[in-house]
């Protein structure tokens, strides 16, 4: 059987929860923590953990600030994060596109 090898995949991006966060941030300049909770439907704890992993990998930048008296956690994708996301998408699309039907 002639099968193509699996592409090299960035495991930081590949996890569904983190992929949702990156996909949401890819359309945006920045978003706050509350919005990411709403967009990804993750729990607060889960979202915090995944954001910390993305920040550690250098894919997301997190800024803690205030709007009036409300604390605000702003998140944005770094250029490295955007690049990793685009590369991941291209590789997955190439691989899935070349897979035989059925």
């Amino acid at each position: 059987m002639n099968q193509r090898p699996l592409p090299e995949i960035d495991t930081v991006v590949h996890a569904p929860a983190r992929l949702k966060i990156i996909a949401a941030l890819s359309v945006l300049e920045e978003a706050d923590f509350l919005y990411l909770l709403h967009a990804t439907e993750l729990t607060k704890g889960n979202l915090s953990t995944h954001l910390a992993k993305l920040e550690e990998a250098g894919y997301v930048e997190i800024e803690k600030t205030y709007r009036g008296k409300r604390p605000l956690t702003l998140c944005r994708l770094t250029p490295a994060g955007r690049e990793a996301f685009e590369l991941y998408r291209r590789r997955m699309l190439d691989f899935l596109g070349s897979k035989p039907a059925g």
């Binding site: 949401a24 919005y35 997955m92």
Partner: protein, 215 residues
Amino acid sequence: MNELVETTRRRVRGYWIEDGMPDLYIGLGLAIYGALSWWAILAGTGWVVWLQSLFLPVWFGLAMIVMRRLKESVTYPRTGFVSYARPARGRRVWQLLLVSALAVVLAVVIVLTSGPGWTSRVDGLLPWLLPVLFTLGLGAVSWYQGSVRYGLYAAAGLMAGLLAAAGGGARIGIAQNAIAACVPFFIVLGAVMAVGGAWTLASYLRRTSRTEEAA
């Protein structure tokens, strides 16, 4: 995996209209403009005509400021703040040039194909053209942001506009020129969007509550 990415991205793009406030604002603007136009036609001259002429530029000129204020006090404390990525400067300039070039080509084609008496033919064409352009715009929003609601507005606008152009204006006795023939279109589309927006906003307020962020 690609579906997860696309669904998430579409949801993010649709966030701006999720609370129904843009529909409500645009709908009210169109309905008020339609009513003012009707009033101006009936009055003939005077301050109503000035009001009608100034209304649209002022209402839609203030749109972004009003929307930002409303979202800061209603939407962001409930479902969060976002700032959309702006297209690259070069891309924006090309988009602007392309739209301007298309508008010029369209105007030239209309004038050249109309021959003598083209102004009256443009008057005749406008009530048909306007609903089609609105439908294309609303349809594009519906497709791009995955919004069924905007698809319904597009369909309602197209039906109202084509019915008005085919004689609705004449039946209510005000179809004397192009704008007059568009009055029923503005009022119907505006009312549909305002009601849709108000209903969506009410439902949004019911299912969300103000949250203090805790990351």
